[in-house]
């Protein structure tokens, strides 16, 4: 009798450990990283690094293929940008999504970049019409916020996209969260659910080391 019971106890402990392991592993998973490629030139004495991301209407791969997402060079959704401390990031964003429109029009203003402006397909702009914004690239703790112009219907190009480029200074080491302020989480209340609340899609972290 006691053998059976202790066997039962053992099985219980194994199941418990299994559940604990599964929950912990589930919690620890993080999306793949985006590394900045160093360049030779420097701005105001700070080394410049390049980061390129593409913004798409549907991720295509990963657990949520139909969610909007930032994709890294080899095309899987990732938002963990690693960058060296005290440097300048030259961000190039290939924006391929159609406009959704900003809820708070103030985020249509370019803030926190060098020169308070961005270049969209070569043209420097300081603000865009909030209703034409598809996404934003905003790092609240650094005060950086750049609206990304949506691709309108009759735009050519394979795939039709707006190339948005801007530079911003990166301070000392730390972890700076960034996110999109356009309610582009389709199908969720206020458009702020789903991809907007999942790392790797419309929210991420700038890891400065």
């Amino acid at each position: 009798m006691r053998l059976r019971v202790s066997f039962l106890g053992l099985a219980l402990i194994i199941v418990g450990a299994g559940i604990a392991l599964f929950v912990t592993l589930y919690l620890i998973k993080t999306p793949p990283a985006v590394t900045a490629s160093t360049t030779s030139n420097s701005v105001e004495g700070l080394p410049v690094v390049n980061v390129t991301l593409t913004v798409v209407a549907a991720a295509g791969t990963g657990p949520h293929p139909n969610w909007v997402a930032y994709l890294n060079d080899n095309g899987d959704p990732s938002t963990y940008i690693h960058a060296p401390a005290n440097s300048v990031i030259h961000m190039t964003l290939n924006q391929q999504d159609t406009p959704t429109g900003l809820r708070n029009e103030y985020f249509g203003l370019v803030r926190g970049t060098i020169g308070d402006s961005m270049k969209v397909n070569g043209k420097t702009m300081q603000a865009i019409d909030p209703t034409l914004a598809a996404h934003t690239f905003t790092i609240p703790d650094l005060g950086v916020s750049v609206p990304l112009l949506g691709v309108d219907a009759n735009q050519q190009g394979n795939p039709p996209q707006n190339v948005v480029e801007f530079d911003f200074k990166v301070p000392g080491p730390g972890l700076y969260r960034w996110q999109c302020f356009v309610p582009c989480g389709a199908g969720t209340l206020y458009g702020n659910g789903g991809p907007m609340q999942t790392l790797g899609y419309m929210a991420g972290e700038l890891v400065v080391s």
Binding site: R103, N104, E105, Y106, G108, L109, R111, D116, Q126, A127, D129, P130, T138, P140, D141, G143, S145, R177, Q179, F181, P183, G185, A186, G187, T188, L189, Y190, G191, N192, M196, Q197, T198, L199, A203
Partner: protein, 272 residues
């Protein structure tokens, strides 16, 4: 009562008086939250100080009573003695205990109501120069606070800067889910509820940089919605800052919606 027990009671009473006094003196000088950066923060700190200074002796008294009875009369667990002298119901003690705890507690409630009444009514006369309160709107959206200043053409900014000389009237609202604007040092906490205007008044006193946090769970970046450089500045600095912000906001001014206490956001998936 045996001698041993009487002087034990005296010792415990003495230590209680000593500790209670020491605690209360310390509490009197300890910098309790939320500090005195604004008038309502000052009254809140005073209330918390009084609560703490009343709670500490009571806590000590009950713990002393508990420890005394448990310790003095302890018996080895095995010895199952016949029942000690039963303390039969003593209604006088019960009524005094209930009466005293009721008076203390309801007294605190009365004091709290008075403090609350002073804080929430806009003091008409208290402040010298222009006592028309400066209206500052706090807009909470999923995962950052932005601020609008209607008296300066309604420009919007991502950092809170307020002058130290005038009454400030916060109008807190949200564009999506429920947030809560917590200006810790100013003693201000007001929930930001969509399509609802929650207003709080206060008079800043101390210049400095303070921390703002969101204190109502609002999703993934609830913890990071904080901003560490909200500033209370002098009147002159404030006007220069405001003008500078107006130039910075110039390109977007024509798109910003007209200033209003609540904004009805299209809910996205639901029909507006």
């Amino acid at each position: 009562m045996p001698q041993r027990r009487r002087n034990l009671i005296n010792i415990i009473a003495a230590t209680w008086v000593l500790l209670a006094a020491a605690g209360d003196i310390a509490l009197n000088s300890l910098p309790l939250p939320p500090g005195s950066a604004t008038d309502i923060a000052g009254s809140e700190t005073q209330l918390i100080r009084i609560l703490a200074m009343m709670a500490w002796p009571i806590f000590l008294a009950v713990v002393a009573g508990l420890v005394f009875t448990l310790w003095v009369n302890r018996v080895a667990p095995a010895a199952a003695e016949p029942g000690a002298a039963a303390l039969r119901g003593n209604s006088r003690l019960q009524t005094t205990w209930i009466a005293s705890s009721t008076t203390i507690v309801l007294g605190l409630a009365v004091f709290g109501t008075i403090t609350l009444a002073n804080d929430t009514t806009v003091p008409a006369v208290a402040h010298a120069e222009p006592n028309t309160p400066l209206e500052v709107q706090v807009i909470a959206q999923q995962w950052y606070f932005t601020y609008r200043y209607p008296s300066f053409g309604g420009f919007e900014s991502a950092h809170l800067v307020i002058p130290a000389d005038r009454e400030i009237e916060f109008h807190v609202t949200s564009l999506d889910v429920t947030h809560s604007f917590w200006f810790f040092a100013a003693g201000v906490k007001a929930d930001a509820v969509p399509v609802h205007d929650n207003s709080v008044d206060m008079q800043p006193l101390k210049i400095g940089t303070y921390r703002i946090e969101c204190s109502e769970l609002c999703g993934i970046w609830h913890g990071s919605m904080s901003d560490d450089n909200a500033q209370i500045v002098s009147a002159g600095d404030f006007t220069t800052w405001a003008q500078q912000q107006q130039q910075l906001d110039a390109p977007i001014m024509k798109y910003l919606p007209p200033y209003s206490h609540t904004y009805v956001p299209a809910p996205g998936v639901y029909g507006s």
